[in-house]
C-alpha cells in the first residue's frame, strides 16, 4: 500500500509550528495523512479559571504571539457582554486599529513563510522588511511590537495623540506601495505560480462540510467574515470589502491574504481619521452575576470564538476557546492527499497554521503540573 512513511514534525525545519504529521508515500505521491497535535500544551483554559478577569486579559493576549490582540479583544468583548457594558466609541476605534494592524503583520508573515517554503528566500526577506513598518506603528500606539496589552474591561489603556496618528498614517502610505509591489510579484512570478497553482484545492462543498474559517474558506468562494457578519467593534461604520477567490488552491489563499492587506490599510486609515477627543474607558459595574456569553471575532486566521461563563466572584467559571487553526485542521487530509511530498510545506504554509493557539488544553492533576514529554505524546505506532 505505502512504500514509505515520512514523519513531518513535531520539530522539523519545514514547519513553522509543531504538529506531528505522518505522511504515507508511494514514490513521491502522498497516499494518506495522519496528524497529531498537542505539542504546545500550556494549560490556558484551566489557568484562566484561577485568575481574576482583569488579570486574565493579559494571559489571553499571550496565547498566541501573532494573534495576540485578537484573543484579548475577543475575551474582553465577552466579559463586556457578561456585564452588559458598553464601551466608548473611541475605544472601539482604537481596538479596531490595533486589530487591523495586527492582521497586516500576520498576513505579511504568512506570505513570507509561503515564499520560504517554496525556496524563494528573497520574498521572505522582503515581507519581513515590510513588517517593520507595521511593527513600528504598533509600537507607537501600544508601546510594544508583538504582544499588545491594549485592552482592559470597559475600553483601552492608552490614548492616541495627534502626532502618533500622523506618523502611523505616513507609515501606512509607504506600506501601501510596498504591498502593491508584493501583489505584482506574486501574480507575475512564474515559479511561484508553478509551485502554488492547483496545489491543495478545496472547493465550496468542502468548506461548508468541514466548517472551515478564515482566508482558507474565503479563497474557495465562501464569504464568511465575522467582521461583516457580526459587525463588532467599529466595523459597522467602516467601509471595506470581503475578499474572495473562486479557485481554492494555495495560490488563491495567498492572493486573498495579499488583497486583504489592502483592506487592512484602508480600514486603519478610515478609523484613524474618525478619532475625536473623548473617553477611552468606561468603568465596569461589578459584581458579576451567573451568566453565559459567546464572543466571536475575525482573527487573522479566521473565526475565533470564546464561550465564557461567570459566577458571582470575579474569576471566570469556565472559558472555552476554539481557535481558527483548530477548525482548519480538518482539511489537512483533503489538501495533502494526491500531491507530491514537495507540496506539503506549500499547502501547510498556505493554511497559515498557528498551532500555539491550537494547543491550549491542560494536564493538571491534583494541583500538580504534569509535563508531557515528546516520547509520551508520540504514543504507540
Amino acid at each position: 500500500m505505502h512504500d514509505m512513511m515520512i514523519p513531518f514534525g513535531p520539530a522539523h525545519p519545514a514547519l513553522p509550528e509543531p504538529v506531528y504529521l505522518k505522511i504515507f508515500l508511494e514514490g513521491e505521491e502522498i497516499q494518506d495523512v495522519d496528524f497529531a497535535v498537542g505539542y504546545n500544551h500550556k494549560g490556558i483554559e484551566k489557568a484562566l479559571q484561577d485568575l481574576d478577569f482583569s488579570k486574565s486579559i493579559f494571559m489571553t493576549g499571550r496565547i498566541c504571539g501573532i494573534c495576540s490582540s485578537a484573543h484579548s479583544t475577543c475575551f474582553t468583548q465577552g466579559i463586556e457582554k457578561l456585564l452588559d457594558l458598553e464601551i466608548p466609541y473611541k475605544a472601539k476605534l482604537i481596538r479596531t486599529i490595533v486589530f487591523e494592524l495586527e492582521r497586516l503583520t500576520s498576513h505579511l508573515l504568512c506570505v513570507g513563510m509561503l515564499g520560504h517554503e517554496i525556496g524563494f528566500d528573497t520574498l521572505f526577506m522582503l515581507c519581513f522588511r515590510e513588517r517593520e513598518y507595521v511593527l513600528n506603528c504598533l509600537e507607537l500606539i501600544t508601546g510594544k511590537r508583538v504582544v499588545h496589552d491594549i485592552n482592559t474591561i470597559g475600553g483601552v489603556r492608552r490614548d492616541l495623540s495627534p502626532e502618533i496618528i500622523k506618523q502611523v498614517n505616513k507609515n501606512l502610505g509607504i506600506l501601501k506601495e510596498k504591498v502593491e509591489y508584493l501583489r505584482t510579484l506574486i501574480t507575475k512570478d512564474l515559479l511561484i505560480k508553478k509551485r502554488t497553482v492547483g496545489i491543495g484545492k478545496l472547493d465550496k462543498n468542502d468548506v461548508e462540510k468541514l466548517c472551515l474559517v478564515g482566508p482558507v474558506a474565503r479563497a474557495s468562494g465562501v464569504p464568511y467574515d465575522i467582521r461583516k457578519i457580526d459587525k463588532y467593534l467599529a466595523y459597522d461604520d467602516l467601509d471595506f470589502k470581503v475578499i474572495t477567490h473562486k479557485d481554492g488552491d494555495s495560490f488563491a489563499r495567498a492572493f486573498v491574504r495579499v488583497q486583504e492587506m489592502f483592506e487592512c490599510i484602508r480600514l486603519s486609515k478610515q478609523a484613524l481619521s474618525m478619532i475625536k477627543p473623548g473617553p477611552i474607558r468606561n468603568k465596569p459595574t461589578l459584581p458579576f452575576t451567573e451568566k453565559e456569553a459567546i464572543s466571536r471575532v475575525e482573527a487573522p486566521r479566521g473565526e475565533l470564538i470564546y464561550y465564557l461563563r461567570s459566577n458571582t466572584t470575579n474569576k471566570p467559571e469556565r472559558v472555552k476557546i476554539r481557535t481558527p487553526t483548530y477548525a482548519n485542521l480538518l482539511c489537512l487530509g483533503k489538501i495533502l492527499v494526491g500531491h507530491k511530498l514537495a507540496d506539503v510545506p506549500v499547502s501547510l504554509a498556505s493554511l497559515d497554521p498557528c498551532l500555539c493557539c491550537t494547543d491550549r488544553v491542560t494536564v493538571v492533576k491534583d494541583g500538580k503540573e504534569q509535563i508531557i514529554k515528546m516520547e509520551d505524546l508520540h504514543g504507540h505506532h
Partner: protein
C-alpha cells in the same frame, strides 16, 4: 424563524439576546434537536463547550447561521457520561467532539476516530477539566 418554533417543541428557551437564542433540551432528545437544525439548512457548527457543574456535564452545541447563533444545551448525567455523535450530520464537529471527550471524559458514541489526540495514549487519570 421556523427552526426556533420547532426547537421550542423539543426544549425550552432559557435566554435570548440580540442575534442569539439559547435552548435547553432533555438528554434523550438531543439527536432530534440536532436533526431539526441540520434539516433547516444550517451546516456550520462553531463550538462545542462543556462544563462540569458538579452533578452533570453541561454540553452546549453552538450552531451558526451567518449572524444568528443557535445554542443548544444538554445535561449529560455523570454516571453514564456518554453522548451520541453529530458528525454524521455535521462533519465539522469531528475535532470539537474529540476535545470534549478528552478533556471532560464524555464518551462520544459513534465517533469515526476514537482514541486520544492531545493526551498520551496511556493516560488513565481523571479527565483534566472535571472538578
Amino acid at each position: 424563524m421556523k427552526l426556533i418554533e420547532e426547537l421550542k417543541k423539543i426544549g425550552k428557551v432559557y435566554k435570548e439576546g440580540k442575534n442569539e437564542v439559547w435552548f435547553i433540551v432533555p438528554y434523550k432528545k438531543i439527536k432530534d434537536a440536532v436533526k431539526d437544525v441540520s434539516n433547516s439548512g444550517i451546516n456550520r457548527i462553531s463550538l462545542i463547550s462543556g462544563y462540569d457543574n458538579g452533578k452533570e456535564i453541561e454540553v452546549i452545541y453552538h450552531f451558526v447561521k451567518e449572524n444568528f447563533l443557535i445554542n443548544i444545551k444538554v445535561l449529560v448525567p455523570k454516571e453514564s457520561s456518554e453522548i451520541q455523535t453529530i458528525t454524521d450530520m455535521f462533519p465539522g464537529a469531528f475535532l470539537l467532539e474529540k476535545e470534549l471527550s478528552e478533556m471532560l471524559g464524555v464518551k462520544i458514541i459513534g465517533h469515526p476516530k476514537p482514541g486520544k489526540l492531545f493526551l498520551p495514549e496511556d493516560y488513565r487519570e481523571k479527565p483534566p477539566l472535571r472538578k
